[in-house]
Each structure stands twice: as structure tokens, then as C-alpha cells.
């Protein structure tokens, strides 16, 4: 445990020096504020509190931004050590590869948690400031924070796995961008296209829920939208959220990080210094 904490402390310091903490937090706060400001328009007569609407908009933001931040922080984790030549020495220390990965994960998760808490917090302050009653939606805000951290953990693990597979930072960066595009952007586009061509047939009723749960980003969106009863204000893929039981999307959110870390460990174990 002390090895994990020492690694985490060192990684956090490095991320702080490389201004990753500042960049991640700045990005989240900026986007959250923009969304909170823009999201105040459509509330109108919808029978939900102000904050739940903000949470719905923040969910759509987080689906793109959290995986991106996680991949940006993680793609260098193993490949960077290989390139700098620091890995052979590290591996002669009495510390296991799992401990190294968990140390890095802990540091990166802390940064991500800090960034989303400050970002969403800024949006929360804005929402409550214009409508004090919005504070009753605080539960959905807390849920958004921890589910964002879980979503981040999945993509951090995936980033470590790609980093270990590529063994070069440039290759790992390319793979990370590709993964982000496929998992976060193209996956949803493909699902939308299928829904349109299917026209409410077997695919939409049977395969779509499974497809949504199989993708951690979609599971995250479905979980937050259905839990926050904000499905009404969400469009597109989010509309399908109502059809999926809450425990299923929650389970997907919890299982994916474990799966991703397992994959990362398997890939890291194959790296010969």
C-alpha cells in the first residue's frame, strides 16, 4: 500500500509540474460554466428543477470531456517510462507492476476528481445563484461527480493498456485518439444510424440496451439521465435511457474500470524492459 501511495504522490507531483492539474481543472470549469449559462434558456415550463437540467447538460459534456482528459493523462504512463529509460530501474525495485499501475491510477483519478468537482461545482454555484430552489437537485450533482470518476477510471485503464501495447508515446497517443473517436463519437453515430434504419424494430427494443451498456460512455450517460429523471430534457440516444434499469447501467459503470485495469495489467506484464 505504501508503494502505491508513494507512486501516486510522485505521479501527482509530476502532473502538477506538467500543468496537467491546471489544464484539466481549467477545461472542466470553463466548459461547465458555458453550459450552465447556455442551459438556463430552455428550462421554461419543464417540470424539473434548474439543477437537474444543468446536470443533464453536464452529462453530455462529461461523456466527451472526461474520457478525453483520462486518455490524455494516461497514454504516456508506460510508454513514457519506456522512452525515458526509467522503466528498467523502476522494475528492479520491490514494487509489483500492479502497484505501479494502481499508483498512477490513484494520482490521475485524484486530478480528475478535482477537475470535475471544481467544474461541476462552478455550474452548481451558478444554478443556485439564479434559483435558490435548485439546491434540491444536489443529489444528482453528487452522482454525476462519482460516476464521472468511474468513467475516468475506465478510460485511464484503457489508456494505460494502449500505452503498454504501443511502448512509444507517439504510437500510444495515436491509439488513444482512435479509441476516443470510436468509443465516444463513432459508436453513438453508428447506433443512431441503426435506430433510424430499424424504425423501432427488433434492434431498437432488444439490441440497443445491450449496446448502450457495453459502452462505458453510454452507460454513464444512461445512468445519469435515468437516475436524474432528466430523460425528458435529453434528446437522441439519451432518450433510450428510460428503457434500461438503473442497476444495469450502474453495474456497467462499476465493472468497466476493473476490466480496463485488468487489461492494462495484462498489457504491462508483456512489456520487457
Amino acid at each position: 500500500m505504501s508503494c502505491i501511495l508513494a507512486t501516486a504522490a510522485s505521479e501527482f507531483r509530476i502532473a502538477f509540474r506538467n500543468r496537467w492539474v491546471l489544464i484539466a481543472t481549467g477545461m472542466m470549469v470553463l466548459f461547465a460554466l458555458v453550459l450552465a449559462a447556455a442551459g438556463s434558456a430552455p428550462t421554461g415550463d419543464v417540470d424539473v428543477d434548474r439543477l437537474s437540467v444543468t446536470v443533464a447538460s453536464l452529462t453530455s459534456l462529461a461523456v466527451y470531456l472526461v474520457p478525453l482528459l483520462a486518455l490524455l493523462m494516461s497514454f504516456d504512463a508506460v510508454a513514457g517510462e519506456v522512452e525515458r529509460g526509467t522503466l528498467p530501474l523502476l522494475l528492479t525495485y520491490p514494487v509489483s507492476r500492479l502497484q505501479i499501475l494502481l499508483g498512477k491510477l490513484l494520482a490521475h483519478l485524484a486530478i480528475l476528481a478535482l477537475a470535475v468537482t471544481l467544474g461541476y461545482g462552478a455550474a452548481l454555484v451558478m444554478a443556485v445563484w439564479s434559483d435558490p430552489g435548485a439546491i434540491q437537485g444536489i443529489g444528482s450533482m453528487v452522482r454525476l461527480i462519482w460516476s464521472s470518476v468511474l468513467l475516468g477510471a475506465t478510460f485511464l485503464g484503457a489508456g494505460y493498456a494502449l500505452s503498454a501495447l504501443a511502448q512509444r508515446p507517439s504510437g500510444a497517443a495515436g491509439l488513444a485518439v482512435a479509441l476516443w473517436l470510436v468509443a465516444v463519437v463513432l459508436y453513438d453515430l453508428a447506433l443512431l444510424a441503426l435506430i433510424v434504419t430499424d424504425g423501432g424494430g427488433v434492434f431498437t427494443t432488444r439490441a440497443l440496451p445491450v449496446a448502450l451498456l457495453a459502452n462505458p460512455a453510454d452507460a454513464f450517460r444512461v445512468f445519469n439521465l435515468s437516475a436524474g429523471q432528466a430523460v425528458a430534457v435529453a434528446g437522441g440516444i439519451g432518450g433510450a435511457a428510460g428503457a434500461i434499469p438503473l442497476w444495469q447501467s450502474a453495474a456497467s459503470l462499476f465493472v468497466w474500470p476493473l476490466l480496463a485495469i485488468t487489461l492494462a495489467l495484462a498489457a504491462f506484464r508483456k512489456v520487457t524492459p
Binding site: S2, C3, L5, A6, T7, A9, S10, R13, I14, R17, N18, R84, G85, T86, P88, L89, L91, T92, Y93, P94, V95, S96, T272, P273
Partner: protein
């Protein structure tokens, strides 16, 4: 006393290339062994196997009674890689504190460790601003953590100036007096000659020589060189007496003779009295012995 490091019949293949062939050696506690060999002779490969960083094909390796790379072995072995590198964003002190924590030691010892390698003044500067010699000292400092029983040092003095090299070997003397076995590779033969107990020469993946410098000198049986300076105007007459000698452009007579013939030859030269102005006896240098052994196979 049980040896700290035992290697028997170690063989390692990279695809079709045999990097190490049937290498056997032992290293007792407190002994300092120098591993010599040309580039690609298998020095780094052997070190990585001892550290458990790479697997091997056949043979047996025991490090402090444990399998190489096992948690128990890693607790007792310290390593200094060739061209050691660290994260440039950390300071020397932060990096050493991290390594101390990984070995379960008190991170506060970092200041003392850095002072021991002469880096106290730069402890709070980022490693990115360090020179190569300073990075090498950080590498040395981390290898001293927690009184290791086996030190594996790959080209430890590269990048160090002569004074730092002497300080470094003084550090090693202190460690070996405490019972730490040391295996180091180097290209600087003169310092290896003076500061290690035994020499191992690898060539083409095979251990071609092993022993103290005196052992190797006897095994190699290289000829001794005698340099004779003739007295003024006597060069021609002297050369006529010794047709086996060659005359250099500097007017010196150069003799090359086996160890056994040294004394008779000396006697016959000194018998000439005033014909000879000066005489030097040059034993084969470590370089000569090293080239003798590493050329014998393949090279």
C-alpha cells in the same frame, strides 16, 4: 560462506543469436568483480538476467538464495543502469525520496544520501537541469538505499570526472567492507585494475577469463617488453649484439620476451655496462591482457 550470486550454465538466446553461452560464476559477499567485454559481449544482458528483468533459456541463477526478480531478491539487490534516467520534472531530492519509499525506508534519508554522492547543493533543483555526471550521482545515490547485499552497476563511472570516480570507488570500498557483493562493468580498465578483487571477461557471450589480475596475467603469458636506451653513439653497435631487438624511430631498442627469459636478458644487457644509458621493463598492461582474452574468441 554462501555466495551472494551464483550463476551456472546460463544460456540466453535472442531469436537465433546466442547472447550468453553456458556462463558460470559465483560472487561471494564483500567481493568486487569487474565485468569486461566489448560492446555486445553480453554484459548488460547478464545484468538484466541477474536483476530478473528478462527471462533466460537455460541454466540456473540464484541471487541472495532467491530466484532473480522475485520480491525477496529485489529487496536485496540494487541496480544502476547504463545511462540512468529519471523524470526531468522531479527534483533530485523528490526522486530519491520516492525510491526510499519504494524500498520501505524513511524518505528523510534522501538529504543524507544526496550529500554522500556530493549532490547536496543541487538536491532541490529539477533533474531536467542536471548534467550527465549529476544524473549519474543520483543513480548512485539510489543504489545505496537500504544496504543492498548485491550491487549491479552498469558502467557506473561513465560521465564522472576523475575526482568523482575516485570518490565513487571509495564509496564502493566502504560497501564491500560491510559485506555487499558488487558486480560492475566498465570500459576504464585502469580503475578496474586498482579497485576490484576479480575480473570477468565476456566475449561473444562466453566467459573467456575469470580471476584476479595476477591470475589472468599468468594465464595469458604475454611477453614482457624491455626498452633500452643506448649510450651516445652506441645504437648501431648495440643493435648488432641483439639482432632480435627492433630499433624505434626514437633510437630506443625494443625487446619482447617471455616472462621466463626476462632475468637472463636483463643480465646480458646490464653486462654491457656503459653501452646502455637506461632501461625500462614494461609488464603487459590490463589492456593487453583484455585484448588477448577477448580476441581469442570470434573477434
Amino acid at each position: 560462506m554462501t555466495p551472494t550470486l551464483t550463476i551456472s550454465q546460463l544460456t540466453k538466446r535472442f531469436q537465433s543469436v546466442e547472447a550468453l553461452k553456458q556462463v558460470s560464476l559465483t560472487l561471494a559477499p564483500g567481493k568486487r568483480a569487474a565485468l569486461l567485454g566489448h560492446n555486445g559481449a553480453g554484459k548488460s544482458t547478464m545484468m538484466k538476467i541477474i536483476l530478473g528483468l528478462i527471462p533466460f533459456d537455460s541454466g540456473e541463477v540464484t541471487v541472495c538464495g532467491e530466484a532473480p526478480g522475485s520480491a525477496a531478491a529485489r529487496m536485496q539487490v540494487a541496480y544502476l543502469p547504463e545511462n540512468v534516467a529519471f523524470h526531468p520534472a522531479l527534483t533530485g531530492e523528490e526522486q530519491i525520496r520516492h525510491y526510499l519509499s519504494l524500498r520501505g525506508e524513511n524518505p528523510r534519508l534522501a538529504t543524507e544520501l544526496l550529500a554522500r554522492v556530493g549532490l547536496a547543493h543541487a538536491a532541490r533543483r529539477r533533474i531536467g537541469t542536471y548534467s550527465k555526471g549529476m544524473r549519474q550521482r543520483v543513480g548512485l545515490a539510489q543504489s545505496l538505499i537500504g544496504r543492498p547485499r548485491l550491487l549491479v552497476l552498469d558502467e557506473p563511472t561513465s560521465g564522472l570526472d576523475p575526482v568523482s570516480r575516485r570518490d565513487f570507488y571509495d564509496l564502493l570500498d566502504g560497501l564491500s567492507a560491510d559485506g555487499t557483493a558488487i558486480l560492475l562493468s566498465s570500459h576504464v580498465l585502469t580503475e578496474v585494475e586498482a579497485r576490484t578483487d576479480s575480473i570477468l571477461i565476456l566475449s561473444g557471450g562466453q566467459l573467456v577469463a575469470e580471476g584476479t589480475l595476477a591470475d589472468l596475467r599468468a594465464q595469458a603469458a604475454l611477453p614482457i617488453t624491455l626498452l633500452v636506451r643506448p649510450a651516445e653513439g652506441r645504437a648501431i653497435s648495440l643493435a648488432a649484439v641483439f639482432p632480435e631487438a627492433t630499433i624505434g624511430s626514437d633510437g630506443m631498442l625494443r625487446f619482447s620476451c617471455p616472462q621466463a627469459d626476462k632475468l637472463p636478458l636483463l643480465a646480458s644487457i646490464t653486462a654491457l655496462g656503459p653501452e646502455v644509458a637506461d632501461l625500462d621493463v614494461i609488464p603487459p598492461s590490463l589492456e593487453d591482457i583484455y585484448s588477448h582474452f577477448s580476441r581469442r574468441d570470434g573477434q
